[in-house]
């Protein structure tokens, strides 16, 4: 049995107290944070402590007892799989919730259920019918009052169109602002997560789990997941010295349905680095033919962007800059808290061979100097002769250093000489190679011929013989030159990476080091790279459904034609207003016909009479000079001459137009009798004014002067225009539709009919054929073609039906869209609730649970204290009350 420490048990009790105290503290912390948002319940990691090891010759009776409990750490109870599912679902909920909210706001404008008179006749819907009511009245009794009533109805209708369009535009702008705020929130979250990463890492390096910071980070990630679909990854990062810390990476969740798109997994957070999301005002024009796998650098497919001149480039700054109408998002560079950009380096080492070093880098290999001497056979020697070589005495003879016979052998003589000379010449090693003596320099390098070592010699000594030495080949050696490497070369690659080539030497070897440096770059996201509320807001701002262009479907989103946001409903309303205005403008304009349907050749009457007939006559307002202001013009824009001068009225003949410049008008007037010779503009205007006064019809003489208009005699005029201060019908839409200026001032009225009977000899003052056309137009089935509004629209038929049906259809589409989003939202929200409840089940604090823990730890604490008392009593017995027998 091994030794038992007397006071070991105290340690056991103390550790028990510590462990219980820790447990109580953690329990207290849990209870305190029961209402803290995002708090994850904590628990202590407690292990049984055992000191010492097993002895090699341990006795079977030697039973180890543990030394108590150790608290090795405090951790969180969290299920990462639930987090992943929760965040995936959160992005769905974010998307559907925001989309539904947007659609509900559109519905608050367009949906007329329950609005209007009679408990829900609608507003715009009812106003269309009120207009038809006015027309019906005008049809039954065409007079000025009913014309005014019709105009008032039309004004109210146009006003409603504009109000709805204005509200939709306000909604769009508000949504745009909300989008900006969302972006700010997302960027704040990204910054928070990045900074929390750094704090957590710092804590980890100091051995702290930073649980509270992790809770906050999880809360931030949860928030981020509502804005976009993300993928969260945890990995271990080597920070040197064998230390590894946890690294958090957040990417976009690969949600783009197009498999060729890779930007949908762009990195948002990479440990200490984070990006920011923005919506640039301009974006470089992309090359639709770009292929990232194109290897031919000169091919069109190798370029990402198109320049303003149509050329290609990979530099976004050189590219043509287009308005970012699609609110395309851009991810900024990954930077750390101090704004340092992320870099990723990978190096490859290549060992350089000698051949490569010599051939490519100018290395010269060193060579030693070698001098050779041929040794001949010794002659003339006698047995016993002593000769001196290298300062040593050499005896020739059978008992000497070399036999006489051998002396005749040059090789043996050479070996003898080499043996004795070696070491006598500084810097050289002397060896024999057959009959050749070889002087080899000890070091590589070139030898000056003048410094060539002296050749072999010997001193005959007691003999008279000879050893002949003949100088042979001589090599003076080569001095070694190390390789010369080029400076470090940095190459920018088309994909944005850099390649750095450098050289290094290690262990006598040379290496070529190729380092690839990845730089963080801005990433322009594709249309469908994110989900979540941010995407929903984008779609509310951009999606135009059938009004999406072919280009958008081909290059931005192949499903664009089926997605409907605010622009779809704006354009639907625009198309309705445009169709409405066009149809009624068309109905209210035509040429004068007789009772047989033939064009009337000419008509004569005062301007007022002709106007009452519905003939189109306007008052002029010149843009240049104003020489004809207040005079009447025909529908073709020519000024109207009085019949006082007919049939050759000078003004009629001159054909001066309201759009003529002063110079043009004067040239025409001068040719028809105006004061000649005017040169300055003022003189010309004065002459033109005189000319107009003499020959033109204005308000003063409109009632009395007869004028004659010739075929084709234009009748009516536009009822609706794009501004109420003019008659311009170009680009009429819901936001600008107005009662035309001419109608509003009475120059144009609803034309009841285009016929003039028997040259005006028969009146038909209450005839209403044209009003009937207008009346039936209300219920006429018309085709609404999106291409009428957006020429390149992908849709060809938005709807076919009456104006009211079209409006009703738009609301039905909106209602169905809301229902679909609502169902999706309910489904995903229910999932989210389930997941949240599950997460709460794992990570949430339960009061009963903690109460139990509290009781448990408290009991453990008491027990440990009791143990200490028991041990104390036991040891007291041992120390103070043992071995006193007989005392």
């Amino acid at each position: 049995m091994g030794m038992i420490g007397t006071f070991d048990a105290f340690t056991t009790a103390r550790l028990g107290i510590y462990a219980a105290q820790h447990g109580l503290r953690v329990t207290g912390n849990n209870i305190s944070n029961i209402n803290t948002a995002g708090y994850t319940r904590q628990r202590i990691d407690q292990v049984s402590f055992k000191s010492g090891a097993s002895d090699m010759y341990r006795s079977v009776y030697d039973n180890h007892v543990g030394n108590g409990a150790l608290v090795t750490g405090i951790n969180q109870v969290r299920d990462p799989y639930l987090d992943i599912r929760y965040r995936n679902t959160a992005s769905d909920v974010g998307y559907y919730d925001t989309m539904l909210g947007g659609l509900q706001q559109i519905a608050s404008i367009l949906d007329e259920v329950g609005k209007g008179e009679n408990g829900g006749d609608g507003l715009l819907y009812a106003q269309l019918l009120k207009l038809s009511d006015s027309l019906r009245l005008l049809s039954s009794n065409p007079n000025k009052d009913n014309d005014n009533l019709t105009r008032a109805s039309a004004e109210a209708l146009a006003s409603l169109f504009r109000t709805y369009a204005d509200k939709l535009e306000t909604l769009r702008k508000n949504t745009e602002e909300a989008f900006d705020k969302d972006l700010t929130s997302v960027n704040e979250i990204l910054t928070n997560i990045r900074d929390l990463n750094e704090s957590i890492r710092d804590n980890e390096l100091c051995g702290d789990n930073a649980l509270e910071l992790r809770d906050e980070r999880n809360r931030q990630i949860d928030k981020l997941s509502e804005y976009m679909h993300i993928k969260v990854e945890y990995s271990m990062e080597d920070v040197g010295a064998g230390k590894q810390v946890e690294k958090l990476t957040i990417r976009l969740g690969n949600s783009n349905p197009d498999p060729s798109v890779t930007t949908d997994s762009s990195v948002l957070i990479d440990g200490l680095y984070g990006t920011q999301v923005s919506v640039p005002e301009k974006l470089p024009k992309t090359n639709p033919a770009y292929d990232p796998n194109e290897t031919n650098q000169a091919a069109v497919e190798a370029f990402r962007y198109i320049k303003p001149d149509g050329g290609f480039t990979n530099d976004p700054a050189e590219a043509e800059q287009l308005d970012n109408e699609n609110y395309i998002l851009q991810l900024g560079k990954l930077v750390d808290r101090r704004n340092r950009e992320w870099e990723g380096k990978t190096s490859a080492f290549q060992t350089l061979t000698t051949e490569e070093l010599v051939k490519d880098y100018g290395m010269v290999l060193g060579e030693k100097a070698v001098f050779k001497y041929e040794v001949g056979a010794g002659t003339g020697w006698q047995e016993g002769d002593v000769i001196k070589i290298g300062g040593k005495d050499i005896t020739i003879g059978a008992n000497g250093d070399i036999t006489l016979t051998d002396m005749a052998d040059p090789a043996k003589v050479a070996a003898l000489v080499a043996k004795n000379l070696n070491g006598t010449v500084d810097g050289y090693t002397i060896t024999a190679n057959g009959s050749t003596l070889v002087y080899t320099a000890k070091k590589t390098g070139a030898v000056d011929p003048a410094a060539k070592p002296a050749g072999p010699t010997f001193t005959p000594g007691t003999g008279t013989g000879n050893i002949p030495f003949t100088a042979g080949d001589a090599s003076f050696g080569v001095t070694a030159v190390p390789p010369k490497f080029p400076d470090q070369a940095v190459t920018d690659n088309p994909d944005g990476t850099q390649t750095i080539v450098s050289f290094t030497q290690s262990g006598g070897k040379y290496y070529k080091v190729t380092t690839t440096v990845e730089h963080t770059a801005e990433v322009t996201l594709d249309d469908n790279d994110i989900l979540g509320s941010l995407q929903a807001t984008r779609e509310l701002l951009t999606e135009a459904g059938s009004f999406a262009t072919n280009d958008t479907v081909a290059n931005v989103d192949e499903n664009a034609a089926t997605k409907r946001g605010i622009p779809y409903y704006q354009k639907t309303l625009d198309l309705l207003a445009k169709q409405f205005a066009e149809q009624y403008n068309k109905l209210n304009q035509g040429v004068m016909l007789d009772q047989d349907g033939n064009q009337v050749d000419s008509i004569t009457g005062t301007v007022e009479e002709l106007k009452n007939l519905g003939v189109r006559i306007d008052q002029a307002a010149n843009t240049d000079g104003g020489f004809g202001d207040g005079y009447f013009v025909k529908a073709d824009g020519t000024f109207m001459g009085t019949t006082a001068h007919n049939p050759d009225c000078a003004l009629d003949k001159a054909q001066i137009k309201v759009t003529d410049t002063v110079d043009e008008a004067y040239a025409k007037a001068e040719a028809n009798g105006a004061t000649p010779g005017a040169t300055t503009k003022e003189e010309k205007i004065a002459a033109l004014k005189d000319f107009m006064t003499a020959h033109g019809v204005n308000d003063d003489n409109a009632a009395k002067e007869n004028v004659t208009l010739n075929k084709p005699i234009q009748m009516g005029g536009p009822l609706f225009s794009n501004r109420n201060d003019g008659d311009n019908v170009d680009g009429i839409n819901a936001s600008n539709i107005s009662v035309s200026h001419s109608w509003s001032i009475g120059n144009v009225r609803v034309v009841p009919k285009f016929e003039v009977l028997f040259d005006g000899e028969i009146n038909h003052s209450t005839q209403n054929v044209n009003v009937d056309h207008m009346l039936s137009m209300i219920d006429k089935s018309l085709l609404y073609d999106p291409r009428d509004l957006v020429p390149d629209a992908v849709g060809t038929k938005l709807f076919e039906g009456s104006f009211n049906d079209m409006l009703c259809n738009a609301c039905t589409v909106l209602g169905n869209d809301q229902r679909v989003q609502n169902i999706d939202l309910n489904t995903s929200y229910t999932s989210l609730i389930d997941l949240d409840t599950s997460r709460e089940g794992v990570s949430g604090v339960d009061l009963n649970d903690e109460t139990m823990n509290m009781m448990q730890y408290q009991k453990a604490y008491s027990a440990a204290c009791r143990l200490m008392t028991a041990i104390d009593e036991a040891i007291d017995r041992l120390i103070n009350n043992t071995g006193i027998a007989g005392r």
Partner: protein, 451 residues
């Protein structure tokens, strides 16, 4: 769920409480708004259907207004025509004060004791008829066709004009001398003269064969006390003769004849053109229509022309009732013009004088024609009554339709109050229960049992 934590239970409770509150509010909204749905999103199909029905109701409402207005116009017109009818036939049951009575009195009074007075009475009555036809409904003249803003009938020089066109206008029939289109031109003296500017009309132009004329001449030569030969159209005299020779005509069949001078009428080409144009105008006016939408379907065909059966022609043309143009005898078909002609005959002789047989016969003939015109008036008058009734029936139909449509969309939109109240009470009950549960959720935990 492996664990039911305090936080989880509270969260769950909050969500359920919110759901309960939302359900309660929804039920409250339904009950207060009394509507099954308050947006398209709640029931797009029902909302679309309800709007269509509301549109139909608004349209019917508008059509009803037009229909009743038209009906009132017809009723006013009918009253005017009733006055005329009484003037023609049975005024206050006293036939003598009517056109018919007066003309009969004149016929039965060959001595003409009160002819002048009766003639004046005829004149006044005919003017009253015209005044009745110039009545207005609202601001429009009732019987003005499609020219409601202008007085339709005008009398100038005892001639009646409808919208500026003489009501007796007819295309003059030019005498066809050879039955192949050859005109006969007369000079100012009524002689057959190629250089003359007047063209002989077929109306009143009677012929006599050369044989008959020659025989009459021969008979008169044989017996100068006998009937002289009739005056026929002659050539201009060749001086020194003062009368020209009778102009012998030959038709394409070779028949030779003379034209009796009495009763011939002639016109200049301009007069013929004017009369022709007037006749065309009358023809146009009689076909003129003014349609209104009274709920008959009001629709245009593919060419943009109104399908006439889908609308109601509300134009009332006064001439439809009192006639227009000339008959085969060249007499007017118009009541006013007939009376004027009678008045002229009556004025030929003074009171107490007998009128000639010819005048009497002519007057008698005109009385016959007035009878016919009156008969046609009565037919049109009856037709108009039928038209008024049709409008009334249509108004009734529209009114019924209006209420039907109201009921139909009410069925879709309006909530069943019993159901709505029950739903609300149930939702309120659930909400109260949820609140109560909340009280116990928050109060109990193991902590409460610690000593």
């Amino acid at each position: 769920m492996i664990r039911a934590t305090t936080g989880g239970v509270l969260k769950s409770y909050r969500r359920n409480l919110m759901n309960s509150f939302i359900a309660r509010n929804k039920a409250q909204d339904t009950m207060l708004s009394q509507r099954n749905f308050n947006s398209y999103a709640e029931d797009p199909a029902a909302a679309a259907r309800a709007f269509k029905l509301r549109k139909a109701r608004m349209t019917v409402e508008s059509q009803y207004s037009i229909c009743t207005d038209t009906q009132k116009k017809y009723e006013t017109g009918w009253t005017c025509l009733e006055g005329i009818d009484k003037l023609i036939d049975t005024k206050n049951g006293e036939a003598m004060n009517t056109l018919k009575g007066t003309t009969l009195k004149m016929l039965n009074d060959p001595t003409g004791d009160a002819r002048e007075q009766l003639t004046k009475a005829l004149d006044q009555m005919s003017e009253t008829i015209i005044q009745n036809l110039n009545q207005k409904y609202g601001e429009n003249f009732i019987f003005a066709g499609a020219d409601g803003h202008n007085v339709p009938f005008e009398i100038k020089d005892n001639k009646l004009y409808y919208r500026g066109v003489p009501v007796d206008a007819a295309v003059p029939k030019v005498f066809d001398a050879d039955k192949n289109g050859a005109q006969v031109t007369l000079n100012a003296n009524g002689e057959v003269d190629p250089a003359g500017d007047r063209i002989l009309l077929a109306t009143g132009a009677e012929t006599i064969s050369k044989d008959a004329y020659d025989k009459a001449v021969q008979d008169y030569q044989n017996d100068p006390t006998g009937t002289p030969p009739p005056d026929v159209l002659c050539d201009p005299p060749v001086p020194p003769a003062t009368t020209g020779a009778p102009h012998l005509f030959t038709d394409k069949d070779g028949n030779e004849y003379y034209i009796l001078k009495d009763g011939t009428q002639s016109m200049t080409q301009d007069e013929i053109d004017t009369a022709t144009k007037d006749a065309e105008k009358l023809k146009y006016l009689m076909n003129e229509k003014q349609f209104v939408d009274i709920g008959l379907g009001f629709q245009e065909n593919e060419d943009g022309k109104l399908i006439e059966t889908s609308a109601y022609n509300a134009a009332l043309n006064g001439l439809t009732f009192i006639g227009y143009g000339l008959d085969a005898d060249g007499d007017p078909k118009n009541i006013y013009s007939l009376v004027q002609k009678m008045k002229e005959i009556g004025a030929k002789v003074k009171d107490g004088e007998n009128w000639s047989d010819a005048d009497y016969n002519e007057f008698y003939g005109l009385v016959q024609k007035l009878e016919k015109a009156s008969s046609e008036f009565k037919t049109e008058f009856t037709n108009m009554g039928a038209g008024t009734q049709k409008l009334k029936n249509n108004s009734d139909l529209l009114e019924e339709n209006f209420y039907n449509l109201q009921e139909q969309y009410a069925d879709i939109e309006d909530v069943d109050m019993a159901d709505a109240i029950t739903s609300f009470v149930w939702a309120q009950y659930c909400y109260n229960a949820a609140l109560k549960v909340g009280n116990s959720v928050l109060s109990e935990s193991l902590m409460d049992y610690l000593k």
